[in-house]
Symmetry: D2
Subunit: 349 residues, 4 copies
């Protein structure tokens, strides 16, 4: 049976991470990856989180899923007029969405006109689903409805790339797509030395020079971090997410400041975490099990499971990011630890 073929990606649970804020308590995290050094690297951050009073403080800032439809108008003026009309009729369009879905709610409409092309970006909340299919279904209903009311418009595309899904763009960070989360840790000076073999000043300098200046000359787009994509891929795979969304997920910002006498205030801001606890892939047994072990399947208000998952993902990213940056402050440490870790993991597995 070809249906039974699977790709068994090596996986380990790391942690627990100590969290506070919008997600609280201790939680272990599964990481599916071919890059075994990722496990001890995130593990080091997790250990640090348990040594700090508040652990990693998590704030979930926003949530939404989007789809941008494309209509063709006869003229630019007609495109502008239709766009204004749609923004004015958001309540009516919201009702169209609600008629077709139990969970989807229309919360915002953004229109952009280029010549006689009209792009209409719909933002919806989608409960505990990441919402890809929910917004596509909603967008189809909305297009039908809009085209009936605007005979001057023609169908352009169900997706006009102003959404934008799994692409490196600026719109998602600015208008929002997925869950926006900030994870933050405050590490006393002594622990920075002892656990991270570095100092606040050196980590701050590295973050400025590498993540901010280096990314700038690389022509980075709303992206200033060392390796968010690694942690995102590993958690996404292990929890049944559509891991292609690490593309926009990778566009986040690491920020560090020295506090007091050498303490380190370190944060990871991730505006585009696209995760769900229901939907495609989430009913696979190992995914169910992982989500339950992480406490993301407990009954709660719609969206609370996915919100918790997003918070845990952000904290996991922080663990791996801080660990790697600290290592890079020391000449020669990265390769040495990689080699040790790969040897160790080879022995164990």
């Amino acid at each position: 049976m070809t249906g039974e073929l699977t790709t068994p990606v090596p996986t380990r649970w790391v942690g627990p991470l100590h969290l506070s804020g919008d997600v609280a308590g201790e939680v272990e995290v599964p990481l599916a990856t071919y890059e075994s050094p990722l496990w001890p690297s995130v593990g080091r951050g997790a250990r640090l989180s348990r040594l700090v009073p508040d652990g990693i403080r998590v704030s979930v800032v926003d949530e939404r899923m989007t789809r941008s439809t494309l209509f063709i108008a006869p003229t630019a003026a007609a495109a502008v007029a239709a766009g204004r009309d749609l923004e004015d009729r958001i309540e009516e369009l919201g009702a169209v969405v609600q008629d077709r879905s139990r969970h989807a709610r229309l919360i915002e409409i953004d229109t952009e006109v280029v010549g006689h092309l009209l792009f209409v970006r719909f933002a919806l909340t989608t409960g505990d689903a990441s919402g890809h299919n929910m917004v596509t279904l909603a967008a189809e209903g909305l297009m039908d409805h809009i085209l009936r009311g605007h005979p001057e418009l023609a169908y352009g595309s169900i997706s006009g790339n102003y959404c934008s899904d799994k692409k490196a763009t600026a719109v998602n960070g600015i208008l929002g797509r997925g869950r926006s989360v900030v994870a933050e840790i405050e590490v006393p000076a002594g622990l920075v030395v002892e656990q991270l073999r570095s100092s606040a000043d050196r980590i701050v300098a590295l973050n400025t020079r590498k993540n901010l200046v280096g990314s700038t000359i690389a022509g980075a787009l709303r992206s200033a971090n060392a390796h968010y994509a690694n942690m995102l891929l590993a958690v996404y795979l292990a929890t049944g997410q559509d891991a292609a969304n690490i593309v926009e997920g990778s566009q986040g910002i690491t920020y560090a400041e020295r506090r007091g006498e050498g303490d380190l205030l370190f944060s990871c801001t991730l505006p585009n975490l696209i995760v769900g606890t229901v939907g495609n892939g989430k009913d696979l047994p190992f995914v169910e099990e992982a989500l339950e072990r992480m406490g993301c399947r407990d009954a709660g208000a719609p969206g609370s499971g996915a919100r918790r998952l997003a918070g845990i993902v952000a904290a996991t990213v922080l663990c791996g990011e801080l660990s790697l940056l600290a290592a890079q402050t020391n000449q020669g440490e990265l390769m040495a630890s990689h080699l040790v870790m790969e040897r160790r993991s080879a022995t164990q597995s």
Copy 2:
């Protein structure tokens, strides 16, 4: 044994794809994904490739892996002078690389100065490995060597984000990172109608409006496509690649033109395919098997296996991209086919 835990990602082989040019013949491709509609979608493109004389024409344009180191100079003038000196001494630095590695070859040095910060981007060929570790190891040796010869410089970072790895940036597309591949297909007008339920004119219009104009307003960065990331993730996972590299992999360009009396010339240009047939993850049994079945383990000149793999990946992306775009030219088709496919795949598995 935690070491034995795996995340079993559902996988199917699709195809065969019919290829010509730098990679020739028929080849099946494994796709590991939670998004089951991807299989029939790529499958449709593969079928089309078998109906066309040349199939999908593949050109492998370039190959290299990069790492950018960061040095701190006392002044901007010192940074500029050191940068010039390093570019002049590329042969000497190449020898340093060769001393530490059988496969790595230094082919280019790019320096960028920001104030007194000196970023030095090393480009190497790395045989059949994707080369992440090889360039890091080489960069460490190079930094040691350079710091000995330039006592005025201090260690900044083994990676200064001008590499750049798994981040949405412009530098990789412009200076090169990974394998750069163009895949192209020429579809007679009749087949466009019959197999894709569309026309060359409609696909060209959609590509211009959505992938080019829509991406532009989204603030895309060197990215003009519908969903490269989906196909990349699936092949990368099934062949043991570090799939976090889909971030830069996703930054490619779909281009379409009408030829003659309604034929379609359709291409996918992927400047940043980071794949290998040896190294991390490649010795897992199912990866070995997959690479062999794809003909990427046949003895050949160093790099020939990874080049073949890169070509196959690009062709696979083309299959899925063309299939989705064709579907989006028709109002209502995307969701309908998604639902059918998900139902079908649910029945089968």
Copy 3:
């Protein structure tokens, strides 16, 4: 008297342009530039506009000026909480603005949190002024007010670069800054041949390949045009504008389609035209005169003069853009016409 020194930039009036839509009638436009070929180039587009029934159709889509302030919070959670509070209190903050200004009106607040940094972007309408000083003054009042009500926040900066002023960014196009205008012309096939020495198909192909694909590989940011900056600079200088705003002004999109039997539908979409008819530089005698001759000083509702000016600017951009693109469809034409024009202008002046 040093105060009397001026730089006399060569200037000509071109046109008249024939306009319809949000700006209607015939209007001449002054162009101050050292690049004399710009005059006949825009002049060719203007002549074409007079040969077409509707001339250039102008739509003014939006208007606002922005300033993003920066606050420092003790923690990320505090930054998020304060940001939410400010968005909730937009009416109160609007009153603060109105107390200090006759013309400024607060219309939107966008907050972005990075770690414990809180960026607050205020959008205001500013009547007939471009509004740089008006929004800075308003932002100062708002910061004072906010810091009194939020003792946990500290002053970060009156401008946090999320505004963003005179920089190449994505935020202005997406959230809006300045006046957003679309200019469009529909040229019958015969006139495309006769006046532009080209065809709709060739202009469409060039626009796709050069402005869309070429800009994409150049790593352009929300920018797909040949030379908007040239026309913007020339009109801005001649009308007393702060011409450094051509940086964001240059980020616009040229779009072209073939209509019917070879007619050309051609548009320029300019989301960030920052112009005013009052304020800095507008009381210089030659500026007064220019604005009056263009009909931008006629009494009208607040903002109507600046809106008219923005519409005229967009139409001028279209004239020069269409003329240059048409020239570039013909091998050898650009240089030949440049040489002729420079010789001609040398003779005349």
Copy 4:
């Protein structure tokens, strides 16, 4: 005579600036602008430069002008093959350039293939000219020559936007266009307090939070500064430059670090200064006079005048940038000083 009409932009000479490094000595700079507060702002930086031993240290890193031509190939493979052939024949192509021009020298060819489109970016040195026309003329000759040797290629465009001229892109900063200059100043702690009313720590913090983090969330492209465009526009206008090139000129990076006991190391890195001392606009009497007064017309090796001008421009940018940033570290200072300056300038003029 319409030919005699000019736009008299208010102009003042500021300084002198004290320079060292690739440009040395004291030099005054003319600033043409409608924004009068710019004069005292740059003036403050200039005064500071005279109080510091080395003044502003200037490094000219690179120089070139570029034009990217576009060819249409029958297939992607043909485009790739032709591109490789051209890169191999750089010496032959260099001779073609030299045959048509006394000053232009071909120094680099970069090819990019998208599907069957071949973009060829030629980089030339152009002596003391900014080089716009020189590269266009050279590119025309090169296209003629190439099309004769490659009958399979068709003319696409004399400019394919991969140049790229006056557009916000990444390619210019990465591959180079114009003169690349770093200007740097080291200010003792006492002078930071006395002259700038600030401290190294506060200026460093502001630069990180505003210019680096704030620009990142704005979706900036290779741009991290407060207002380079203002200074660039003013010097460009006063010295007869094509000021539309401030678009790419504005894409530079301000970087600051604390040194020792509170000294400030502050730099402006400007990769894309497009200036000349001969060519269009440079023979206007007031331009001649300005260039002579700045020492940019002294006989010297070809290019030395333009190099000196580029260095002076970068130093001028530094003066204005440091002055504004220092002002923004203090709540309320920006608006207060603006108002004072505008009042003062109103009185004087």
